[in-house]
């Protein structure tokens, strides 16, 4: 059982926002796959008096508006995984969503929840960072949009205020000639908490050089982020094993520089190097360039 807590459900956003703005301690939730586990762990970890179910607010539309893909924050991982727009415009996100937990979890857990929970191993975050995702936040007093790269401030912490609700995620697709790679490392094949996640988007120009590259990594740094040092090094280079290995080394150096040498470093150092190489190879193999023979 979960300790006594009030359950509130609203079907209109403004009414939901009123609850969040009230003095009462209210926690919004959607799928409950993280929140309900947290609630049961201790008597009342959130020190909140009520749960606000946002599933009835209709925040699960997925559509394109002037080249931006808009994803309702309460879209389940199943809805994201099966969505045709996302399959064609944000394939890395399709892959990431399809690898989350199990069918049971994907049927309940939501993309917004995955981001707001702000776990360093959240599977959708490395994918969304590649598409420069923005988080749309609403409250009774203000609407604002925050880049995903600034939304998560430390493990399990975000910029979200008590009276605010994330309503949608905006992502910006890249052209079709970009190749992509996504690798989730886990201890088993399913219902898997990621040990490390690496994602990449790559574009190769007519001369066969890397024209644009985006690389992100989860569970490598305290906050899942792009690895700009790796991206800078790769631009203008011809994609080959030696360069990809160098990229892996830079990522590992950056990891140690940020997090220090920890008990897990000997493992993570060699693994991050290898995963960067794999993901870059995967992205390169998907690059479409007719000029290359």
């Amino acid at each position: 059982m979960i300790p006594e807590i009030e359950y509130i459900k609203e079907t209109e956003l403004d009414l939901a926002l009123q609850h969040l703005a009230s003095d009462k301690k209210v926690i919004p939730f959607a799928g409950g796959t993280d929140v309900l586990i947290e609630l049961r762990k201790s008597k009342n970890p959130f020190d909140r008096k009520a749960l606000l179910d946002v599933k009835g607010l209709g925040l699960n539309d997925i559509y394109i508006h002037s080249d931006t893909v808009i994803i309702g924050a309460a879209s389940t991982h199943t809805e994201v995984e099966d969505n045709e727009i996302i399959k064609s415009k944000l394939p890395v996100l399709t892959k990431a969503s399809s690898l989350i937990g199990s069918k049971q979890i994907r049927n309940r857990g939501t993309i917004g929840g995955n981001i707001i929970n702000a776990s360093p191993c959240a599977d959708t975050v490395p994918a969304l960072l590649l598409y420069d995702a923005q988080i749309v936040i609403r409250s009774l007093s203000e609407d604002r949009t925050v880049p995903l790269s600034e939304f998560i401030t430390s493990p399990y912490e975000t910029v979200l205020q008590k009276d605010e609700l994330v309503t949608e995620i905006r992502a910006f697709p890249v052209a079709e000639d970009y190749g992509w790679g996504y690798y989730k490392l886990g201890r088993r094949g399913a219902v898997n908490i990621s040990r490390m996640t690496v994602a990449a988007l790559m574009k190769v120009d007519g001369e066969g050089k890397i024209n644009e590259i985006r690389v992100s990594a989860g569970s490598v740094f305290p906050i899942t982020s792009r690895i700009s040092d790796v991206e800078k090094m790769l631009v203008g280079e011809k994609p080959k094993a030696e360069i990809f290995r160098r990229a892996g080394e830079i990522a590992a150096e950056k990891m140690i520089e940020t997090s220090g040498r920890r008990w897990s470093t000997p493992y993570k150092e060699s693994v991050v190097k290898e995963l960067i190489v794999r993901v870059l190879n995967e992205a390169y193999s998907r690059c479409k360039n007719d000029d290359l023979s």
Binding site: E4, E6, G31, T33, I37, D53, Q104, N107, R108
Partner: protein, 156 residues
């Protein structure tokens, strides 16, 4: 709070506390103990029920959240005296040892075969990945899923 939902095909109205999980409602209040609680955190799938036909973990849903929805538990699967083809398949292939996980597996299988009547091995794996069995080693469960697919085809 009062909730109304369809439980195993029947309209059900019940008063539940806000913090009550669906599994507690089923087991403690409605005496439907075929749904099992294993891990209590969405990893083992023993508590699987079908919500509007889709498998979910009843340990991760509040009872209040199923207001207006359709819930199928293992008790609702058989029609009168005849077992569901998926239940028959699990029995006929001896895919049951201690039985604790079986309700969840049968419901996961039911939903998998509804969506995909002829699944490939990889699709079966993915379909039942959210259910753990510590006895069988899964080989018999694979047989059960394939046998169930055949039984369903024979019926149609």
């Amino acid at each position: 709070m009062k909730i109304k939902f369809i439980l195993n095909g029947k309209k059900t109205v019940v008063d539940v506390p806000g913090g009550m999980r669906l599994i507690d409602l089923l087991r403690e209040k409605l005496n439907l103990t075929g749904t099992r609680e294993g891990c209590g955190k969405g990893e083992c799938g023993a508590c699987t029920v079908l919500l509007d036909g889709k498998p979910v973990n009843s340990c991760l849903i509040l009872a209040a959240q199923v207001d207006g929805r359709d819930i199928l538990t293992i008790e609702g699967l058989q029609k009168g005296d005849s077992l569901d083809p998926v239940q028959r398949a699990y029995i006929d292939t001896a895919a049951v040892q201690c039985g604790f996980c079986t309700s969840g597996f049968i419901l996961a299988t039911k939903s998998l075969l509804n969506e995909n009547p002829d699944p490939l091995d990889e699709e079966i794996k993915r379909g039942i990945a959210g259910n753990l069995c510590r006895c069988t080693g899964y080989a018999k469960i694979f047989d059960a899923v394939k046998t169930a697919a055949e039984y369903i085809k024979e019926e149609n």
